[in-house]
Assembly symmetry: C2
Homo-oligomer: 466 residues x 2
Amino acid sequence: MEKEYESKDILFPEEGHPLTEEDTEDIAERIQDLVEQDQRPEAVEVISHLHPADQGEVLDELPVETQQQILEALPPEEVAEILEHLDSEDAATIAGGLEPDVLSDILDETDPDVTADIIKQLPEEQALDVIGEMEEAEEVIPLLQYPDDSAGGLMSLEYVVVKDSATTNEALDTLRQQEPEVEDIRSIFVVDADEHLVGELSIARLALAKFGTMVRDIMDTEIIFVTTDTNQEECARVMERYDLDQLPVVNEEKRFVGVILSEDVIDVIEEEATEDMYKLASISGERVSGPLRSSIKNRLPWLSLNLATTFLAALVISLFESTIAKVVTLAVFLPVVAGQGGIGGTQTLTLVVRSMALGEITKRGGIRLLGREAILGILHGLILGIIVGLVAYFWKGNYMLGVVLGLAMIGNLIVAGLTGAGIPILLNRLKIDPAVSSAVVVTTCTDVIGFLLFLGLAAVFISFLL
Amino acid sequence: MEKEYESKDILFPEEGHPLTEEDTEDIAERIQDLVEQDQRPEAVEVISHLHPADQGEVLDELPVETQQQILEALPPEEVAEILEHLDSEDAATIAGGLEPDVLSDILDETDPDVTADIIKQLPEEQALDVIGEMEEAEEVIPLLQYPDDSAGGLMSLEYVVVKDSATTNEALDTLRQQEPEVEDIRSIFVVDADEHLVGELSIARLALAKFGTMVRDIMDTEIIFVTTDTNQEECARVMERYDLDQLPVVNEEKRFVGVILSEDVIDVIEEEATEDMYKLASISGERVSGPLRSSIKNRLPWLSLNLATTFLAALVISLFESTIAKVVTLAVFLPVVAGQGGIGGTQTLTLVVRSMALGEITKRGGIRLLGREAILGILHGLILGIIVGLVAYFWKGNYMLGVVLGLAMIGNLIVAGLTGAGIPILLNRLKIDPAVSSAVVVTTCTDVIGFLLFLGLAAVFISFLL
């Protein structure tokens, strides 16, 4: 609140108000201009007034050479704070451009869990160099064994732990010894003689306890915990379900090893939601401002797979070329059949995949769901089939065309409901991520079966259509 | 950790391990059985051993009458805890079935922000009845003015605030007076004589301060805050960007009024991500297990809108009926043109909408993005256009068919890129939610323009196609 900015011509945020994306871009431009005018100290001055999170965002907008020039001019503990606020990919990109001896000094100041995430993303040789140069490596090395998306990869080592035989005064002493690193913690954890987690004690209760109280007498013994190999999505589910602000992590021997903080889980939830959304749209990890080559590498395989499946649909139509030659109007209604089936399938699919991700669908619930979506398909099909049949009849003046199109619509919306629910349920049982590729499969089903129904019925009743 | 369960034949979770959805269903069934066998005390006994969050999930699986029977048998403070763990819709549904005098006793024990969320969702008459019966109504009434999706609607009133002129001992006394409600707080807030927020002090630092220290000398003065009318999505963005575990909220006069906790923001992020995903798939708020009628009410309008747009595509084809009559093979490739344009458009659209939601696209960035997606469209179009042209040529033996199809593919993927990026950017500038209905618009564009290009080119070069 008492920050004073020297260069007032830069768009700084109002006191206490966070920087917008536009502010970030403006500041990045200004810094780039300064560096290009050989005014590096001024550029460093501008960035050093920002919040570490904003410094990271500004750096992210700058070219790699400028990033390095700025980072080398900042003290290691400030760079460490910047890295802690960036997501691990961006942090690794920025860190990867620094010399091993510079980087190791910085990583010695960084939280071990962030350091581990960064080192895991460096090329192996560079990673080994950096670890070799680090002084605090022994804190980081055990964390390297856990996969990124597990509780072990997510947990923080900033915790205070005391024995259940301690008094509150001893606990306060332990807390004091670990200051200032543990200043933001909310509670301390209590373990027994075997280091098994037995309780949790909020700092507020600890601070207010009477002199000489035993920790075990005032600690909370109802603790929910996860193991180091618990998937990060599952950790997020648990923290959300039980409204936890932190979740202790134990290892295979049930020894307490770390804690997951709710602010770190926020990133996980956003990432997982983004991933599922992208998978449903047949894209994978991609950034709107990344290099074109990576966008092509990411989207082209899906476009090609989709191309192959549209040829399946084309093949079905080509089976009925002679029917279409007799009644060309049939071609006019092909997009109506395919379009309705596609959107109906996507509606069901998205609902089911997202509900699965949120843990709302049980194994038994799957069968019920399949029945439910089939009934919805019949109801939607009846309503829309009658409308579409009437429109076709009044437009083209042939009642049988209306009947054939209406029946195809009913059938296709049932297929849409069944595949939209069935494909992700099946993939889930097979332990395959239900979001990946289900959209392509579902629309292929609705296209192929929709055309088969429509053109097949037309071929059967061709004498009524002429 | 020391919980003891009396009825061991029920699938209770392992000590400390959270309940799965399957466990929840099993327990709900067991309770329903007990209630049906007139063993209500036993049913209440089973549920009372669970964590309040699990109690809520179990209740959610039970029929309304059973819910009421169980809730009326539990003490009000236990029901209050259950409501605090449920999302506000479920909480309102469960609470809405109780008598005003029972409900008011419960809501007197519930956190004011949760109470306000529940009351806002009750029918007006019932809400007034309940408020009239409540003893703690004066805490809740001010919260009713804030919209649900604003910082004011999201904030908690469980905070401790002290004057900047206080000593740490006075601060500890204030904390002690508010025990045990504030036991889980992480820091206290500091205001000046005008109640303007001037600092924040972690409980750990407070607990370790020397006797007689002034709060203002050890408090943190760099605080990021939001106002009561800040949108909840923006609050989530800020907390994520700055890795905050709590975010103070001030009113119009800049007076400190509440605090947003990171565990509450987790729900917001999940809700917002779910909403965007559903809007892109043309569904709105819906549950996989809700009543069929609400699913139809939710999906049918979108299916009907889509139906109308597919008739636009049909209209375009019908303009070229005479061309198709001459070369029936053209009909075969209609789904190839439409399918590729549709998936290309959806890829771009999803990427852009999600990046907007995550605050990654600036105003200036929009134009750059449009150019980027157009270039990607050209590149994807060239690659896939050549492939598809060759396939068509070898399949049907006519080189001009390949050329026409290839050109239509290039054109359509450019349209897909331009509309996939352009429509959400345009909607966003018009302050319309970019996720709503953009999918329908984009696929309509790719269908209509794709068919126009393909069949139009075919009509022009018809003599080469015969």
